[in-house]
C-alpha cells in the first residue's frame, strides 16, 4: 500500500467517526448518516482499488475515473452551496423574529 492510500483512508475514517458521533436524532440526520457510511465505503474501495473507479467511469461514458470524480464534486458543491444559501436565509428569518421581539419588549418597557 502506498503512503497516499494510507493517508486518505485514515482521513476518511476519521471524518466518518467525527460525523457519526455528532448529535441529532431526526430522520434527515439518519439519512445523512447512512449516506455518509456509503460514501466512506465507496471512498475506501476507490482508494484501495483505484482501477474500479476507472471502470465505472468508462461504464457511464467518462474518460477517466478522476474526471468522474471531478464532475460528481461539482454537482455536490453546487448542491451544498444552494443548501447553505437557503440555510442562511432561514437563519436570517429566525434572527429577524428574535430581534423583532426584543424591539417590541423594549418599547413596552419604555412606554409603561
Amino acid at each position: 500500500m502506498i503512503l497516499i492510500q494510507l493517508v486518505l483512508i485514515v482521513a476518511i475514517v476519521a471524518l466518518m467517526i467525527r460525523f457519526l458521533s455528532s448529535r441529532g436524532s431526526n430522520q434527515t440526520q439518519a439519512w445523512k448518516k447512512l449516506l455518509l457510511m456509503l460514501f466512506t465505503a465507496l471512498a475506501i474501495i476507490f482508494v484501495v482499488w483505484p482501477e474500479s473507479l476507472n471502470t465505472i467511469a468508462h461504464f457511464v461514458g467518462v474518460g477517466r475515473g478522476a474526471d468522474l470524480l471531478l464532475y460528481s464534486l461539482i454537482v455536490a458543491f453546487v448542491f451544498q452551496s444552494f443548501n447553505t444559501y437557503l440555510k442562511g436565509k432561514e437563519e436570517q428569518r429566525r434572527f429577524a423574529k428574535v430581534a423583532s421581539k426584543v424591539a417590541i419588549l423594549e418599547a413596552r418597557l419604555n412606554n409603561k
Binding site: 437557503l86 436565509k89 436570517q92 430581534a99 423583532s100 424591539a103 417590541i104 423594549e106 418599547a107 419604555n110
Partner: protein, 226 residues
C-alpha cells in the same frame, strides 16, 4: 380613530420623519414608528413626537419592520384597523382617511393603495417601467389582478393583521403580502391613491438592480416551501 394604528417603518429618515409623524398625529392618535436600526438620528426625531417608537437593535429590512409594527399594534385589543404608511412623505393623509372610510364598511379585509389607478406625480420612466414589471411578476406568482404591487399604503383589519405574517425581511414583502392575500383568500380591493415623488423619495427608492434580488428570492421561496 382610537381603533386605528398607523405603522411607519423608518430607516435613516431623520430629515423627514418628524414632519411625516407630526402630520399623522394631527389626525390619528396611535402612530407606531418602527426604527429599523437607523444609523442616523431617526430615533431622536421620533422621540420629539408623540408617536410610539419601536427600535430594531439592528437593520432587518422593511418587511421585518412592518411585521414588528403590526405585532406591536396587535397587543392593543382595541386596535381594529391597521395602516402601513411610508416614512418618506410620499403618501397623503387624505388617502388614508378615504381608505379607512371604505374598510369600515366591512366589505373588505384589506385595501391596497394603487398609484396606477390614481396618480403618480413626478414619477421617472425607469421607475414606472420597473414597477410595472413588478406588477406583472406579482400577478403571475399570486394570480391576483393587482395594478400596483409595491405601494406602501395599505389598510387592513385585525384578521389580516393576525394572518399576514411577513417573513421576507427585505423589499420582497410587497409581493409576499399579495401572495398571502391570495393564499388566505382575504377580501381585497385596490383604491386609487396619489404618490408624491420628491427628490428625496426618489433618491431613497430601490435601485433597479435590487429588483433582481427580490424576484429571485420570491421564486426561490415558492420552490422551497416547507
Amino acid at each position: 380613530m382610537q381603533d386605528v394604528y398607523i405603522i411607519v417603518p423608518a430607516y435613516n429618515e431623520s430629515g423627514v420623519i418628524y414632519g411625516v409623524l407630526s402630520d399623522l398625529l394631527k389626525n390619528f392618535p396611535n402612530v407606531v414608528c418602527v426604527n429599523d436600526g437607523s444609523k442616523d438620528t431617526t430615533a431622536q426625531e421620533v422621540r420629539k413626537t408623540k408617536a410610539t417608537l419601536v427600535t430594531h437593535p439592528i437593520n432587518l429590512g422593511q418587511g421585518a419592520a412592518l411585521q414588528t409594527g403590526i405585532e406591536y399594534a396587535l397587543l392593543d385589543p382595541k386596535a381594529k384597523y391597521f395602516v402601513t404608511f411610508d416614512s418618506d412623505g410620499q403618501h397623503r393623509i387624505e388617502d388614508v382617511k378615504k381608505m379607512l372610510q371604505e374598510i369600515r364598511k366591512d366589505k373588505h379585509d384589506i385595501l391596497l393603495g394603487s398609484r396606477f389607478l390614481g396618480e403618480a406625480k413626478n414619477i421617472t420612466k425607469v421607475r414606472k417601467a420597473l414597477l410595472k414589471a413588478a406588477v406583472v411578476f406579482t400577478r403571475t406568482t399570486s394570480g391576483l389582478k393587482v395594478t400596483d404591487a409595491h405601494n406602501g399604503l395599505r389598510v387592513f383589519n385585525r384578521l389580516v393583521a393576525e394572518g399576514l405574517n411577513i417573513t421576507m425581511p427585505d423589499m420582497a414583502h410587497g409581493s409576499e403580502i399579495i401572495e398571502r392575500i391570495a393564499e388566505k383568500k382575504f377580501r381585497y380591493k385596490e383604491l386609487p391613491v396619489t404618490i408624491q415623488y420628491t427628490d428625496y423619495s426618489q433618491a431613497k427608492g430601490q435601485s433597479a438592480l435590487n429588483a433582481i434580488n427580490v424576484g429571485f428570492d420570491i421564486i426561490l421561496n415558492r420552490i422551497v416551501k416547507k
